[in-house]
Amino acid sequence: MDNDKKIELLRLMFTILYFELCVQEYFTKGHIPGFAHIYVGEEATAVGVCAALNKDDYLVSTHRGHGHCIAKGGDINRLMAELYGKVTGYSSGRGGSMHIFALEIGVLGTSGIVGGGLPLSIGAGLHAKLRNTSQVSVCFFGDGASNQGTFHESINLAASWHLPVIFVCENNLYATATAFRDISLIKNIADRAKGYGIPGVAVDGNDVLKVYEAASEAVEMARNGKGPTLIECKTYRHYGHYIGEPGTGYRTQEEINEWIARDPVKLFSDYLVKNRIIDRNGILKIEKEVKDAVERAQTYAASCKFPEPNTALDNVFA
């Protein structure tokens, strides 16, 4: 990867970070309705995977999906407007945080059902295969979803049909409040790939370049008709399962501190400085630009109109 691209990845990671902090602020103030699950601490996973994708590749996301949309090239103005329930949002205010669709960049939806996206992801893969395009489909899901039946059904089907799908498990160690170690006898979810006859690889999900490397290999395989890969990214969310979760007592402060010390944005910034790809001032400049852009997105979203109430029945059917 060339240095410009690396700097671009850092910018995307900052965008996700500051976007999510902004969402947290305005959600807490009561400006953003509904629920919101933020992605702070997991930025390297979305950015590393999406760096290996083309604009027309497909992506299926989760309830914690803002980061995936941004990493895939989403417009933060339209994204923020959707979170506000505004007519200018990606789904014209019909979806909200957990139902963001951006077909123009291949995003087939964030999702409110844990494990609900796995079957969808293989459908995008089948579509690409039947049309003989070289597109691939990426499915993000969490450690929680890896215990859903759809995980088994979808990976097995994609494997046996050699569908161009990359299954990316974001293992942030907790399925809402339940530790993965308490509900599974295996250490690596990636090991389950053996049961489907496909490659499985566990990577440090906080190292954007490691994630990118694993994703590139999987994408290359998928594009060449060699079928799916299961990538497990070990990562951690710095905040609660959702904004406003009454405490995360199921995690020790010591554990949280350890992971914050390995914050992916900080790790990558240090790497870039150490390798003289960018200096600290350069990073501060990017941070400032990103913060400004996020602030503009928030101002934009807040100023946009709500949909007209009498359009609520539009698009139930085509």
């Binding site: 669709f101 059902i113 079957p119 459908g123 579509h127």
Partner: protein, 323 residues
């Protein structure tokens, strides 16, 4: 015109839709080489090839969601779910995903997807292979529901369902598979949402759903001998529902009996009755009656099964009670 079975007409309906759109494909269990568990997909593999006629593992959630996303991306997909009971293991995908993707996306995608399934109580199918579940789906916005009751209808309605840009469930009562009817050889498409007046009459309107249309016709014959002229209506499509045809008939006859194999609470019969009382109450000369399956899981033993299912005698009794 040539006479063929309903089963054969299903095959021709699939083929008609799949010929019309080359991006269409069908998935299901044992639908390719075997030709479907009822023989209803025979010939599709030969005509459309293995890329468009795909045998799946028994993974209803996975292949239902798969077809939804393929449809959202622009392919036209068909799921053969076999028994309607099996939709229950794919319910999250059908209700939370397929029915809502277009809406949740603010209209960014269409959902050209068909789910074909066989349902109904007959010949001891038992509690897991007999259920009449369409009221569950009729309660969910975003799903069209078609219940063809004749060989002619199933070919033309199935072909139209496949070409529709929304999720359409085409549901066939198992008792219909071997009935025969006149069916043109060429492909044709019957618009969704148009009821059919199967028999004209003046004294009472009997609305029958799917196979219940045939019970209603038998009941009408019996009633005719007793001097009661029954009009029999087959809605053919539940969603969208052609309420105009039903209301016009009730305005003429002043009496209605609805026959629906679903259980009475929240059945589609209940919905039809609600519509009629909202729009034609003043024309009614008697309370509306409904005939449904009695509320127990479908029993295996033939006398028990017969006891709880609707039949022509129950319809005759209901009509006589309101005359």
């Amino acid at each position: 015109m040539r006479e063929i079975t309903y089963l054969q007409a299903i095959r021709e309906g699939f083929a008609a839709g799949m010929r019309k759109d080359k991006t269409s494909f069908i998935v299901g269990e044992g639908i390719a080489e075997r030709g479907g568990c009822f023989g209803h997909t025979q010939g599709l593999l030969k005509e459309f090839g293995p890329e468009r006629v795909l045998d799946t593992p028994i993974s209803e959630s996975a292949f239902t969601g798969m077809c939804a996303a393929a449809a959202a991306c622009g392919s036209r997909s068909i799921v053969d779910i076999m028994y309607l009971d099996f939709t229950l293991v794919a319910m999250d995908q059908i209700v939370n995903q397929v029915a809502k993707l277009r809406y949740m996306s603010g209209g960014q995608c269409k959902m050209p997807m068909t789910i074909n399934g066989v349902f109904g109580g007959i010949r001891s199918g038992g509690a897991h292979h007999s259920q009449t579940l369409y009221p569950l789906f009729a309660n969910i916005p975003g799903i069209k529901i078609v219940l063809p009751s004749t060989a002619y209808d199933v070919k033309g309605l199935l072909a139209s369902a496949i070409m529709d840009d929304n999720l359409v469930m085409v549901l066939e009562h198992r008792a219909l598979l071997n009935i025969k009817g006149d069916v043109p050889e060429e492909d044709y498409f019957i618009p969704l949402g148009e009821a059919s007046i199967v028999k004209k009459g003046t004294d009472v309107t009997i609305v029958g759903l799917s196979f219940m249309v045939h019970h209603a016709l038998r009941a009408a014959e019996i009633l005719e001998k007793d001097g009661v002229s029954a009009e029999v209506i087959d809605p053919r499509t539940l969603v969208p529902f052609d309420k105009g045809t039903v209301i016009e008939s009730v305005k003429k006859t002043g009496r209605m009996v609805v026959v629906d194999e679903a259980y009475a609470p929240c059945s589609f019969a209940s919905e039809i009755i609600a519509i009629v009382q909202e729009e034609a109450l003043d024309f009614l000369n008697a309370p509306i009656k409904r005939i449904n399956t009695l509320s127990a899981p479908i029993p295996f033993s033939p006398p028990l099964e017969n006891y709880i299912l609707p039949n022509p005698e129950k319809i005759v009794a209901a009509v006589k009670a309101i005359m």
